[in-house]
């Protein structure tokens, strides 16, 4: 705040008055009374707080100042049944079937539940709308208890929050698949919301895909994953996912973002990991104009562990923005983060991550690594690792690389007679293959490997 603004009492970051994201709009959405109440409170809180700006540390390097929320309005509730459109529904089935065996399927269209099926009993997984779950009101927000900015907007406008409740002690052999399809006219804002609770001692996997009906993984031609039917449609998509991993439980979570080229995405994935529990998460970022993913992982119980992975490829003018927090709050907790990606054309990636080890989290072990391949001269990657360690007896390491294809690797292949262009192709393909190998759910591995190879412009042969 400038001295002048302070003197006149004018806060330049005055709360926005947005014509489309008002408490009245939130109140008009369908759902149980507790959910309606929750939405209105969130909308009021959002309306009375300032929008973030690039001056805020967590929004540095972002494009938040270019986002004009007035260009968007909540969408989805006008089609309460959900309507994927006949052509994309065939492609949707192909996409989902390509993931292999599954225990359940949830599809939302513009945030509205459209498909719900489960091949396992309620004694294994309870799957469905939060409003249909007896503990829905407690589950929603259990991980993200104190949301700000966009998660708050999600609280206010999520139409059908989805709950995946894995019962204590259950083992779910095949993953539950959740697909959020966004479609329709320009200016639509969609708020997918998913809550996963893995009960004590349970083992489960979840694959969550956020996809544009008209581009990316649902594009017309199966041979070209990234063709688009027409010019990309401007949208705002705010997916929020809460992962609660109970004591002794193990959750593998894979998320794939395949949005259109004119979409703003503000995604938030928050997790709480209990004692002796393990979260293995893997995020893939492919589409979007500005696509942000915030990953907050809190290790709350002794000997809990997280393995956080992300793979991304930027093209054209897009910006892929990753913010991570590895929050060690209990002794002997382990976190291992590796975010790897490439930027091509004039695209830009941001990685900003914090390892936080709280007092008392003794003998914790945290690793944070970010590798960025810069494939074209006009492309750019920022990497900002940070540590905040309040405890002595801990092990922390972080590192990052930003640069073109490694000169030594190219030299090695060239010394075998491989020409430079081919050597570079092999190295880039290898870079993505080595990270695709780490996808924790085998069913998603092929799709991710193929998507990364195609998007990076290299395929094997």
């Amino acid at each position: 705040m400038s001295a002048e603004a302070r003197a006149t009492g004018l806060d330049p970051r005055e709360a926005p008055i947005l014509p489309t994201f008002t408490p009245d709009h939130a109140a008009a959405l369908p759902g149980a009374p507790w959910l309606a109440q929750r939405r209105v409170e969130a909308a009021e809180a959002f309306s009375s707080s300032p929008l973030p700006t690039e001056k805020d540390e967590v929004w540095r390097y972002s494009r938040i100042d270019d986002l004009d929320l007035e260009r968007f309005r909540p969408t989805g509730s006008e089609h309460p049944g959900g309507d994927p459109g006949p052509s994309s529904s065939g492609r949707l089935h192909a996409l989902v079937d390509g993931l292999g065996a599954r225990s359940g399927l949830v599809v939302t269209i513009n945030g509205v539940l459209a498909t719900l099926s489960s091949s396992v009993g309620d004694d294994v997984v309870v799957l469905g709308r939060a409003t249909d779950h007896p503990e829905g009101a407690d589950l929603l927000g259990a991980v993200l208890a104190d949301p700000h900015d966009f998660p708050l907007l999600n609280d206010a406008f999520a139409i059908d929050p989805v709950v995946i409740d894995v019962q204590a002690g259950a083992t779910v052999a095949d993953p539950v698949v959740v697909v959020h399809v966004v479609s329709g006219a320009a200016g639509g804002a969609v708020f997918p919301r998913t809550v996963v609770r893995t009960g004590a001692g349970a083992t489960a996997g979840v694959i969550e895909i956020v996809v544009d009906a008209d581009s990316g993984l649902l594009a017309d031609a199966p041979t070209d994953l990234f063709s688009s039917a027409g010019p990309p449609v401007e949208r705002l998509v705010v997916p929020v996912t809460e992962l609660k991993v109970g004591d002794g439980a193990s959750l593998a979570y894979v998320s794939i973002q395949s949005l259109g080229g004119a979409t703003w995405q503000m995604a938030h994935q928050a997790s709480i990991i209990g004692a002796d529990a393990t979260l293995s998460s893997y995020a893939v970022a492919l589409g979007g104009s500005y696509a942000r993913l915030r990953t907050d992982s809190a290790l709350m119980g002794e000997s809990g562990a997280s393995r956080l992975r992300a793979a991304f490829i930027g093209r054209d003018d897009q910006m892929l923005d990753f913010r991570t927090l590895q929050d060690h709050r209990a002794p002997r907790t382990t976190s291992d983060l590796l975010f790897m990606g490439a930027v091509a054309d004039r695209s830009h990636s941001v990685y900003s991550g914090l390892i936080r080890v709280r007092r008392g989290a003794v003998k914790s072990d945290a690793m944070q690594t970010n590798h960025n391949l810069v494939l074209d001269e006009g492309a750019h990657a920022d990497s900002v690792p940070n540590l905040d360690i309040e405890e002595n007896d801990v092990k922390c390491s972080h590192g990052s690389t930003v640069g073109p294809v490694d000169e030594d690797q190219r030299y090695y292949l060239e010394s075998r007679g491989i020409e430079p262009g081919r050597a570079e192709q092999l190295i880039v393909a290898g870079f993505f293959e080595s990270i695709a190998d780490q996808v924790p759910l085998p069913g998603a591995r092929d799709l991710i490997g193929r998507a990364l190879a195609e998007r990076s412009g290299v395929s094997h042969g």
Partner: protein
């Protein structure tokens, strides 16, 4: 059986601001094994890097030709295509790229045209040096021990069949069995297709399995002594002090 020669003449080279090779000359003919020995800092590894054209090294004078082809005028990959191979002292990790993939790409380029079956040759060569087949699909040099990396380099040499091979301390990190496998394979290549070898080494033990025809002692970036296999024994006994 190829016949030809790798001729290094009055080679001066180094890293920016520092001349390390100060007029080095030697000639290796097809089928011959030459050993280059020398103390640390004598320029042995620089010689290997400069011959293959590693980025970061610069040539200040002299020439290197392979059957009359001016190697120094060529980029690395064309030097390889001309028939030069470097078994690196520290083979570089290339994540996600397997031996099979890289050799499939490289097979197009070997002297004499592409050979028919990469896998067949790869498996045969792996068996000859006891290289574990489960490493064949693994990323190049990733999660390999020092010794496995050297076997891997030797394996590639066997598959690609270059005309001349520079072995940069291929004996370092090898146990006795691996040393015997690697040394024998290279020795056999000299008669199989007339491979010419420039074996850079710090110690004599490699030369017990890979018998040199000629031994050069390198010091201060120059060849200061040249002799037969007996020179390696003398150096081993008396050290390099007499040559520095």
């Amino acid at each position: 059986m190829s016949t030809g020669e790798l001729v290094i003449e009055d080679l001066r080279a180094g890293i920016p601001g520092r001349e390390i090779l100060q007029g080095l000359s030697l000639t290796v003919r097809s089928g011959e094994v030459h050993a280059v020995m020398g103390p640390n800092g004598s320029g042995k590894s620089t010689l290997a890097h400069v011959l293959m054209g590693r980025p970061g090294y610069e040539v200040l004078g002299g020439s290197v030709t392979l059957d009359g082809i001016d190697l120094l005028a060529l980029p690395t990959w064309q030097r390889a295509r001309a028939g030069l191979f470097l078994a690196m002292q520290h083979p570089i990790e290339v994540p996600g790229v397997s031996l099979v993939e890289s050799l499939t790409a490289a097979r197009q380029t070997v002297p004499g045209g592409p050979f028919p079956d990469v896998l067949e040759r790869l498996n045969a060569e792996a068996a000859r040096i006891s290289f574990d087949e489960r490493f064949l699909d693994r990323s190049l040099n990733v999660d390999l021990s020092g010794g496995e990396r050297k076997r891997n380099e030797t394996l590639q040499l066997g598959v690609l069949r270059p005309r001349f091979a520079v072995l940069d301390e291929i004996d370092s990190g090898l146990d006795v069995d691996a040393l015997a496998d690697v040394g024998r394979r290279v020795q056999e290549a000299t008669s199989e297709w007339g491979l010419g070898v420039l074996a850079i080494t710090h110690f004599r033990r490699l030369l017990d399995v890979l018998r040199p025809d000629v031994v050069h002692v390198l010091s201060g970036g120059r060849v200061v002594a040249t002799g037969g296999a007996e020179l390696a024994e003398i150096v081993d006994r008396t050290g390099y002090a007499a040559y520095t």
